[in-house]
Structures are given as structure tokens and as C-alpha cells.
């Protein structure tokens, strides 16, 4: 019997994986952006599960808008990344400390 709890637990596991991925990342910002996409997917899972189990379509509308904003975020983030690489020749997380001190 599939319940709401099984879907919510799956979403919680994906969310935790995304957070771990953001923190342990040691190479580049692209992996951080991919982990952000994982977090958004887990949130969308919650919305769709509640939408199905409550028989309310409003949850799916919210997922639609989240997908829109996530696509815009990915495009702008990658544009920032290209501009950053053009200026500093590196997108290493450890080397981006211009704003420190």
C-alpha cells in the first residue's frame, strides 16, 4: 500500500542527499548547481504527492511555477559561471575568496 508517507520519505532522502552534496563539494560550482536542482526536485515531489492524495490540482500548479523559476535560475547561474570563468580562469570553490576580508 503506497501512502503519502512513502513519497514524503523519498523526498526527504533526496533533500538530504542534495544538502550533503552542496557541503562536501570540493571542485566546482557546477556540482553545487546540480545539487540545487536535486533540492528543487525533492520539493516538487512533496507538492505532487500532496496534490495526488488530496485530489487538489493546486499543488501541480505550484510545481509548474517552480519548474519555471528553476529553469530561469539555471540559465542565469550558468551565465554568471561563464562570466566568472572568463575573468578568473577558474570556477573552483576554494579559490573564490575575492570578497573575503
Amino acid at each position: 500500500m503506497l501512502t503519502l508517507q512513502s513519497y514524503l520519505s523519498l523526498a526527504a532522502i533526496i533533500f538530504a542527499i542534495g544538502i550533503i552534496g552542496i557541503v562536501i563539494n570540493r571542485k566546482n560550482i557546477i556540482i553545487v548547481m546540480m545539487c540545487t536542482e536535486l533540492l528543487l526536485i525533492s520539493v516538487n515531489f512533496n507538492f505532487i504527492a500532496f496534490s495526488y492524495f488530496n485530489q487538489d490540482i493546486a499543488g501541480q500548479i505550484f510545481v509548474f511555477f517552480i519548474l519555471t523559476v528553476a529553469a530561469a535560475e539555471a540559465a542565469i547561474g550558468l551565465a554568471i559561471l561563464v562570466a566568472l570563468y572568463r575573468n578568473k580562469k577558474s570556477i573552483d570553490v576554494q579559490e573564490l575568496r575575492t570578497l573575503r576580508n
Partner: protein
């Protein structure tokens, strides 16, 4: 029974591919694993009768966003040897925090399960109205303002990403349209009377 089998198979694939996203050293492998996670999520959304969003997820994310990711990864060519180091020093701490987050969320979900107040018996099998039709009706009546704001956000994203990546080089020969339009004919043509010179 078949739905449970599909759910547990696809959710284990989803968890494994999400782990692969954060564990691979090569960002290209991470991106391909993320594509697998998106497709698996799409199948799981099909189980929840969100057919339109599942197709949109696969088309928009796998078809557009992840191709953009792969394009940027390969254009920047960041896969050099120096990046082959192991995890940073925060790895045990991050694992600890992540496990605590997952444990807390799952405990909360299963303890409060009686208070979710859902009526599982009211869930029908797919009725006459298709998912796309229902979503469209709701989207273009009650949520029309939000829909237009979403379109405006996409327009902003286009403008911002173009203006961030546009670069004008100094020593290149281009037309300057304003100067071309504002040319005065009297400065360009000199009329000479040939007969008078003879």
C-alpha cells in the same frame, strides 16, 4: 501490487543516481546521473497522475536545462588533474548533518501521519478529464496573474543571461548604426562643375 513494485524500483534508482551526482569526480558523469534522476522522477510522477508535469520535466529539464549544463561543462573544460582530489575536510560533518536532516524529516513524517487528514479512499482512478485539461483550466483562470509573472521571469532570465555573457571587443570593425543614419549628404559629396573649368 504492481504500483508498489514500480515505486520501490524507481525510488531506489532515484536514490542511487542522486548519490552518483554528488559522488562522481567528473562533472560530466554527474550531469548524466542527474539526467537519470530527472527521468526516474518523471516516471514516479506518472504514478501520482501528474502526467503533464512528468512530460514537462523530461522535455524541459533533460532536453534543455541539462543540455545547457553539459554544454557549459564542456565549454569551460574544467576537468583537469588538479581537481582529482578527495573530499574536503567537511565531509564527515556534512554526512552527519545530512543524516540528521533525513532522520528528523522521516521521523516527523511518520509520527504525524494521523494528522495529515487525507482521505485515501476518495482517490479515484483517472477520470474523464485529462490531467492537462484540468491543469490548463486552473492555470488560465485562477492563476492567470501568476502565469504572466512566470512569463516575465523567463523574459528577465533571457535578458540577464544575454547581458552577462555578451562581450564587446575593442579592436573589431563593426558598423555604428547611429553614425550611419545621421550622415549629412553635404559632407560626403562635392559637386564639381566641369564646364566652368574649361
Amino acid at each position: 501490487m504492481i504500483k508498489e513494485l514500480i515505486f520501490y524500483t524507481f525510488s531506489s534508482v532515484l536514490i542511487c543516481s542522486s548519490l552518483a551526482v554528488i559522488l562522481f569526480r567528473n562533472p560530466v558523469y554527474s550531469a548524466v546521473s542527474l539526467i537519470l534522476s530527472f527521468i526516474t522522477s518523471g516516471f514516479l510522477w506518472l504514478l501520482l497522475q501528474a502526467e503533464f508535469l512528468a512530460i514537462v520535466l523530461i522535455l524541459v529539464y533533460v532536453g534543455a536545462v541539462m543540455v545547457l549544463f553539459l554544454f557549459v561543462i564542456m565549454m569551460l573544460n574544467i576537468n583537469n588533474e588538479r581537481d582529482k582530489s578527495s573530499f574536503n575536510s567537511l565531509a564527515p560533518f556534512a554526512l552527519f548533518i545530512g543524516l540528521i536532516i533525513a532522520a528528523e524529516l522521516i521521523t516527523l513524517i511518520w509520527i504525524n501521519s494521523s494528522q495529515f487528514n487525507i482521505n485515501s479512499l476518495s482517490i479515484q482512478e483517472p477520470d474523464q478529464v485529462s490531467n492537462t485539461l484540468a491543469l490548463g483550466k486552473e492555470l488560465f483562470t485562477n492563476y492567470i496573474l501568476s502565469f504572466e509573472i512566470a512569463g516575465f521571469i523567463l523574459l528577465l532570465a533571457i535578458i540577464i543571461s544575454i547581458s552577462l555573457t555578451l562581450r564587446t571587443r575593442k579592436n573589431v570593425k563593426t558598423q555604428i548604426a547611429s553614425e550611419q543614419i545621421n550622415v549629412d549628404p553635404s559632407t560626403r559629396i562635392k559637386l564639381v562643375d566641369l564646364k566652368e573649368r574649361d
